[in-house]
């Protein structure tokens, strides 16, 4: 319920701000975005009202679930990985990211690391580098 309220408020505020930006658009270019902004505001307001109504009714089944950190840690790792691609190169950073995530996720067997990382590097090299000729970013190491 709380998440619905926060998301709805965020969407309404964002859409209101974007609406002010459309004032600078040439005639005709602003019509469709405004229609969609108003639609989003109306739908969000309806969700907000619904959330507030069910919240005031004290519905116990809609208690917020605890937020788990793991998905966000993996996402943070992925962000660092994408940043590192330009510096270390695609292959090196992919292997480092995958190995670090496997450690974080509790993979213990050394053979799993060797097989997974080796297969991954070989697959990307053969398919994307050799076969599809994708210029995968090269970096300090490879």
């Amino acid at each position: 319920m709380r998440a619905d309220v926060l998301i709805s408020l965020f969407l309404i505020a964002s859409c209101a701000w974007l609406y002010t930006i459309t004032a600078g658009f040439p005639e005709g270019a602003e019509t469709f975005p405004r229609l969609m902004l108003i639609s989003t505001i109306v739908f969000s307001a309806a969700i907000l009202l619904d959330a507030l109504r069910s919240g005031s009714a004290g519905n116990p089944s809609r208690a917020p679930a605890p937020i788990k950190a793991q998905p966000y840690v993996v996402f943070g790792g992925a962000t660092l990985y994408v940043m590192a691609v330009g510096v270390l190169g695609f292959f090196t950073s992919s292997i480092l990211f995958s190995a670090a995530t496997m450690v974080y996720m509790g993979v213990r067997r050394i053979s799993a690391y060797l097989v997974a990382l080796g297969t991954m590097a070989l697959f990307y090299y053969v398919l994307f580098d050799r076969f599809l000729h994708v210029p995968l970013p090269r970096g300090l190491l490879y």
Binding site: L11, F25, F43, P71, V74, A78, Y81, F97, A116
Partner: protein, 511 residues
Amino acid sequence: MDGLFFTVAKDLLTPQNMLVMVIGILAGLLVGALPGFQANMGVALMIPLTYSMSPDTGLLMLVSLYAAAIYGGSITAILFHTPGTTASAATAIEGFALTKEGRAGTAIRIATWCSSIGGLVGAISLLLIAPPLSLISLQFGPPEYFLLAVFGLTTIASIASGSLLLKGLTAGAAGFLLSTVGMDLDSGFPRFAMGQNLLDGGIPFVPAVIGLFAMSQVMYMVEESSGRLGTGMATYDKRDWGFFLSLRELKEVWGSVPRSLLIGIVIGVLPGAGADVAAWVSYHEAKRFSKHPEKFGKGAIDGIASAEVAKNTETGGAMIPLLTLGIPGSTTAAVLLGALIMHGLVPGRELFTKYAEITYTIIVGFIVANVLMAVIGMAVSRYIARMTSIDVGILAPLIVTLCVVGSFALGNNMFDVWVTLVFGLLGYVMRKNGYHPAAMVLGLILGPMAENGFRQSLVLAKSSVAEYILTRPISVALLLVMILTLATPYLLEYRNRRRGLVVPTSEQAHS
């Protein structure tokens, strides 16, 4: 016509096209078998690989994956009682009961051939129904195209019901809004680009789709699962593992096949109801008409057959409105719509005239894929099932790297990778809070068509747009169908409640 037939046959039967179909089927089987993975994610991840291929080759790979992924969910449903996709939940009941009796081979055999029969009939229906239906699109003007785009969106939004329907519509409107980012084609003005030149070209939808479906799925998987995806290895009697159906099995399931085919096609063409609804309705109808309803829940093979036939027939049915009108019947069809547009193919009459060779190659390829799927499925299902024992800790980083390399390969730039990452987080947050990434994807894809139709309607309407729309019969018909589509989930829910059916309402349901 004969010339077209031979051209299609020649195009389809090249070693390259046959190879990509086999790859698509293997990938689809794997995606379908892995619990939590959906066909839409598989298609989204595979799109970048098709970028450098010719449209027919690329799309053959994707439709083969689609067919196989819908079937693949049944393998783990039967062996581990863990449906790979929600569409296989009905199969899990009867299939796992057979597995416990040591008859996993029988269950897999029934599921495989019945899926193939369903897929085959669905694909043939697509071949027969889509070309004449596409003539309707010739009657369309700007208001109809605008309404068609909105209709497409309501089909996806209507996947959910209650407050989730509003969330689906919100996500769709946000998708339409995101499609306006970048250079306005009429005035050349960069809208919502915030001074960033990279955004002048708009938000690239394939990286966005990869983020919304695949990247967000990884985050979901990391949160939901610990350890292995599957629940272990089923034991089975090797003597039970025959390749073809026996005459006795065929006689036992044959009664429910025609009914399930009909249910699959009707539900497939209907927007907003997907493979899971087709499977459940068919399963319950089979139980209702069965001479031995007491066997249901204890390993009734006609129960497996009815669910499998209907869910795979639905895939062909869902592609009828997709190819003719651009309305996807499922979330996977929405991703396929993006792939069609990426390859320069716009749904409508032109697909069956100007691009007839490509379109018919894809449709006939879809028919062949459903046959190949059965042969490959029977050959590899045991090994595919073993893949579910892969640790999430291994699979998650591999999929992230696949998202990165896939989105980079599209335009050879890191901007696309960042788009994937941002939309991955957005997709995860949306899914956690009941908003449909599929609706946003469709908004992004159909946005330009909706805006063009809307702006041209404004110019054509002398006074009020609403008045103008209401004077056009096709527009009025589209509005009525839209209302019906939005009401359908409520009506189905009401009907199922009255009949005591339980249909899963997962946001992943419409794979």
